[in-house]
């Protein structure tokens, strides 16, 4: 026990001596939370629309007003030149063009049918799809408004929607995306600190040559490894706490579940992460190599964990890979605990999976570590 304490002491002194490292460990979470939570929004706020009105009729003006009054759209241009509109898409001034052709109103009156053209910059397919949905919704809404009332039947009768749909959004009725992102950033935080620090630490001793000095001491393998990992385990958990407090103050993150459970899950998760860090540290010979391996797996596992996109829509092979993706487990559980108030009985399966995983990885890490150079 005393040996572990000495190693711990050494590690903490080493960490606190590095003048640049310490502020980074503490400033990073703040920056990340502030930036990422604000930036990481998939909400569509303003679709920049360019309207080409060749009809110049009451109908076309009413339609234009519908768009300029909508919260989703910003009218970026209004002209009768289609070339001007396409140019505005090319240089990103507009996201879409609504083209009202000449004789639109007349045709609608005569033939009861008239066409409108919509052009989208579809490089971002999702945005284009959603913009299209909003646009057609506005247009068909307008369509119902102008239906002839005198024909004895109300407009409602034509409406195909006699299924009344009552949506409710549980846990987040205002559809605030930030609430969804805060737990994800906490996961990132714990992962980057845990994996980054642990994987680089032993390598540094290797590169500097003082691993040999440690190897010739009577310190047992297991003592050494726990002494190495414990500081990072503590720092990472501490950082999660700090991040959580920032999240509560700045973004009003709800904490519906138990904080104790959250930290229990994080502690177990860190076993896996620190174990992996140690393994990478063991098999790499230079820091550069370790950085690369860490970065490679981290970015893939983070992207696959469902941080921004639902894991449900992934192809099957990706879902299978996610069984060995520790970040996916943590991401899922932290969101369930914080946002939905899930208790231990709701997450025990994932919890034990992660615990088993952690034990396997740590055992592997200890076994792979050899005191012989």
């Amino acid at each position: 026990m005393r040996t572990i304490l000495f190693i711990l002491q050494k590690e903490f002194i080493q960490i606190s001596r590095n003048k640049m490292m310490l502020p980074m460990i503490f400033v990073v979470p703040l920056i990340q939370l502030l930036l990422l939570v604000n930036v990481a929004t998939m909400e569509m706020k303003h679709i920049k629309i360019f309207i080409v009105d060749n009809d110049l009729s009451t109908t076309s003006r009413q339609l234009t007003a519908k768009f300029s009054n909508s919260n989703f759209f910003v009218l970026k241009g209004y002209s009768n030149q289609i070339a001007e509109a396409t140019a505005s898409i090319e240089n990103n001034k507009a996201d879409m063009v609504l083209h009202i052709p000449k004789g639109f109103e007349k045709k609608l009156g005569k033939e009861n049918k008239s066409e409108l053209q919509l052009l989208y910059n579809a490089i971002n397919g999702t945005v284009a799809g959603i913009s299209n949905a909003y646009t057609t919704q506005i247009i068909s809404g307008y369509n119902y408004e102008i239906l002839p009332r005198g024909s004895g039947s109300s407009a409602l009768q034509y409406s195909a929607g006699n299924i009344q749909i009552i949506p409710s959004f549980w846990y987040n009725p205002t559809l605030n995306y930030k609430i969804f992102m805060v737990p994800a950033i906490l996961v990132l935080l714990v992962t980057i600190i845990g994996l980054g620090l642990s994987s680089l630490n032993i390598i540094k001793e290797k590169e500097m040559g003082n691993i040999e000095q440690i190897n010739v001491t009577p310190i047992k393998k297991i003592h050494f490894i726990f002494g190495k990992l414990l500081p990072f385990w503590i720092i990472a958990l501490l950082m999660m706490g700090v991040g959580l407090i920032i999240g509560i103050i700045l973004f009003h993150t709800p904490i519906l579940g138990s904080i104790g459970l959250l930290f229990a899950v994080a502690s177990v998760y860190l076993l896996v992460i620190l174990g992996f860090g140690l393994i990478i540290s063991n098999i790499s010979s230079t820091m550069q190599q370790a950085v690369f391996v860490v970065f490679f797996f981290m970015i893939i596992f983070i992207m696959m964990s469902g941080i921004f996109t639902p894991t449900d829509s992934m192809p099957n092979w990706a879902k299978i890979i996610n069984y060995i993706n520790p970040i996916a487990y943590f991401m899922k559980m932290i969101r369930m605990i914080l946002l939905k108030g899930s208790g231990f009985k709701d997450i025990y399966q994932d919890f034990f999976m992660l615990l088993g995983y952690g034990i396997v990885v740590i055992t592997l890490a200890v076994n792979r570590y050899k005191k012989v150079g």
Binding site: L118, A122, T135, F169, L175, M287, V291, F296, I300, S313
Partner: protein, 369 residues
Amino acid sequence: MKHFIGFLKKEFYHIFRDKRTLGILFGMPIALMMLFGYVITTEVKDARIAILDQSKDETTRKIIEKIASSGYFVIAKNLDNETQIEDCFRKGLVKEVIVFQPGFGQKLQKDKKASVHLIADASDANSANLIINYTGAIMNDFIQKENASAVLPMQIITESRMLYNPELKGVYMFVPGTMAMILVLISALLTSVSIVREKEMGTMEILLVSPLKPIQIIFGKVAPYIALSFINVITILLLSNYVFGLPVKGSLLLLLAESLLFIILSLSLGILVSSLTNNQLTAMFASILGLMLPTIILSGFIFPIENIPAWIQWLCYANPTTYFIIILKNIMLKGLGLMSVWKETLILVGMTFVLLGLSIKKFNIRLEK
């Protein structure tokens, strides 16, 4: 010159000896492209839902069938009463519960009106919104088919055209971003770490007392990374063409020239980081935070810049990657020429000069001042 070639050889040996890093260097673009091409999608697909059918009649059965066969949803559970809903969400089993009111089919026939309650787990606000929209659309479609005879007396028909990406593929969005990210990773992160390494190991001293000029040391250090970056650019372009069917619409030469410009810019960033830091760990953290993170989140790669709050937007405009991504999109996807990107190119050239000048000036030829 001979000294320089010798030094250059040493640098190449350093990289080629490390098979693991090399493997990852070349595997990275492939893995990322696969990831963004197939795995990371915001679309709704196979979303798990539960159904609480209090009516259990012909109509609800038909609607449920339609929902199940749409490809968007998988019916994971059938519930018997409302108390089970909460439990379902808490366990994370489903994303949405569809509740049909009792006597749904009858009401629809008699009163021409029946209600259905869609409850979404909005802890993921985005998906919740999409899922509710999709479910609603399927139901409306069902009704429309049921009374197909009801034609509107006056109809505005919309014809939508999706420019540049008619199939709305996600890859279009991610190829430029992936390219930028890999270039920053190799050129900035790796370069900074590799230079600081010499400092930390004490071998920088040997380089500095050698007859090599500082500029030669810098160039020799970065040359292998330029080569690697270029190979990766080509890998990404080949992949996007042959695997994802996304060819370069504009001039390939212009695209490569712009990439080279961006590589040089990233390298000068890497050199700058290396002269400001003293050990690899710090250099790495600084590059990841100061360079990688902005590249991923503040460049319009994943999140559209317009949606970002104004007080952060200026960071995006200070970020060279933002301009590089615009250039890539214009050339690759829109097929536009230099005329459309001269402003962005000029900004990148300006940034490169400033950073290059700064990093050469900051490059100390003394270890300690």
